[in-house]
């Protein structure tokens, strides 16, 4: 599974990290620090939930 974060759309809600702290890291101001990530095995469900928490719909999940 791969996640892609549209950094132009991210406005720092930080909900991805609140929902899936093992997948999403934030920068110092609370914006998503990830652009692309291959999700480690076992964290797929978290990654998906974190994407589903983004109010901007900035995160895409590819299976």
């Amino acid at each position: 599974m791969k996640i892609t974060v549209d950094r132009d759309k991210c406005t720092g809600h930080a909900r991805c990290q609140a929902t899936a702290p093992d997948v999403y890291q934030l920068d110092d101001l609370g914006y998503c620090a990830i652009t692309e990530l291959t999700v480690p095995t076992g964290l797929e469900q978290q990654a998906q939930a974190g994407a589903g928490a983004c109010p901007e719909r900035a995160i895409t999940v590819e299976l």
């Binding site: 759309k9 406005t11 720092g12 930080a14 609140a18 101001l29 928490a53 109010p55 901007e56």
Partner: protein, 409 residues
Amino acid sequence: VTSTAQSTGSGAAPEALRYEDINIPVSGPGEHFAIYDALRAQGSAHRATVHDRDTLVVVSGIDGIRSCMQDPATFSNRAVAVDEPNPSYKWIPEMIDPPLHTKWRHLLGPFFSPGAVQRLTPRVHEVINEIIDDVIGRGQCDYVADVALRFPNTVFMEMFGLPVSDAAQFQDWETAILHSPPTAGDDLSPLRRAAAMREVMDYFSDLVAQRRAHPREDILSTALGFSIDGERVSDADLLGFCLLMFMAGLDTVAAQLSYSTYHLALHPGDRRRLAAEPALWPSAIEEFLRYYAFVSPGRKATRDTEVAGCPVEAGQMVFLPLASANRDEAEFPEPDQVKIDRENNRHLAFGAGPHRCLGSHLARRELMIGLTAWHQRIPDYQIDPAVAITEHGRQVGLNNLPLTWDARS
């Protein structure tokens, strides 16, 4: 998707929707949200009037509301109240657009980042416990005045290095400015609103001058040193920043605490479940944010465009009630139900796009600490049935929340 006009009950020709009928000065709790629900059932965007002359577009669906907020080039923040399309004031950073807005947000971000909020957390715990110490022995309180308003006000005053003794005055100003009915009314509220705004501006102008002369270790003193594009930020802009902090930082958390506690007072089953499963508090708080979203921003179109199929002309205001986005059945299954374990709750209570609430991390922390501390110490309480609860318009919120509990336990 269509634009709609509301018809009158008399069977006469349909009459245009009026902003004054959406933003009512005094109502029962939740009535504003029900108005949005009824509008959304008719369509995703609606033409309306304000002051019986200016036209605006009310957007009801989450897609339309989100896309307006994500497109600041088309929907400017230079006016944010739909009944004031040409404001004489400029709250910073709310009422400025990118690219200048982006520079301000960069300067302010460190004060409101998750890390900064973490550093404030011990003091936030102390503040709420001091407030609960004051009321717990009484067995009753008006939760709005005695707890919900005092708590974020105290945190704010300390961040700004202001004497907490000024908090009551702040509260009077907030009520006059943020809770007044639409300015077309023939009562005294527009005058009170203007007078309160002048007093707030005087207060913060004095504060800017004081901190300029004697800087301290607070947020405003740091802001005095801000530079944008090589130019020192002006005192006028610093005043605009103080005004926004005042408008956005105090009343909002109070309103959210009050609606959350109102819900929990009426739903002891949810209260019992949270006591048994405290890990549900974060999702419960998100659900209260979704269901009781009280901020209704406006934006000003910079060009002719359309929203949800409804034409918008350059210079026209669009009204974006976040509560309506958050109750859109296209996004949220059973949106009229409060589900404290709701999943995939990507509500817009803190807005969307570059103006996403700067204080959202602090607000969430205050909600978490404020609600859990109260429920640990006063787990059982009721609404006093002898007192009517009312809701105000503009920035919607409860005027009062009379609670009673057994003070001997």
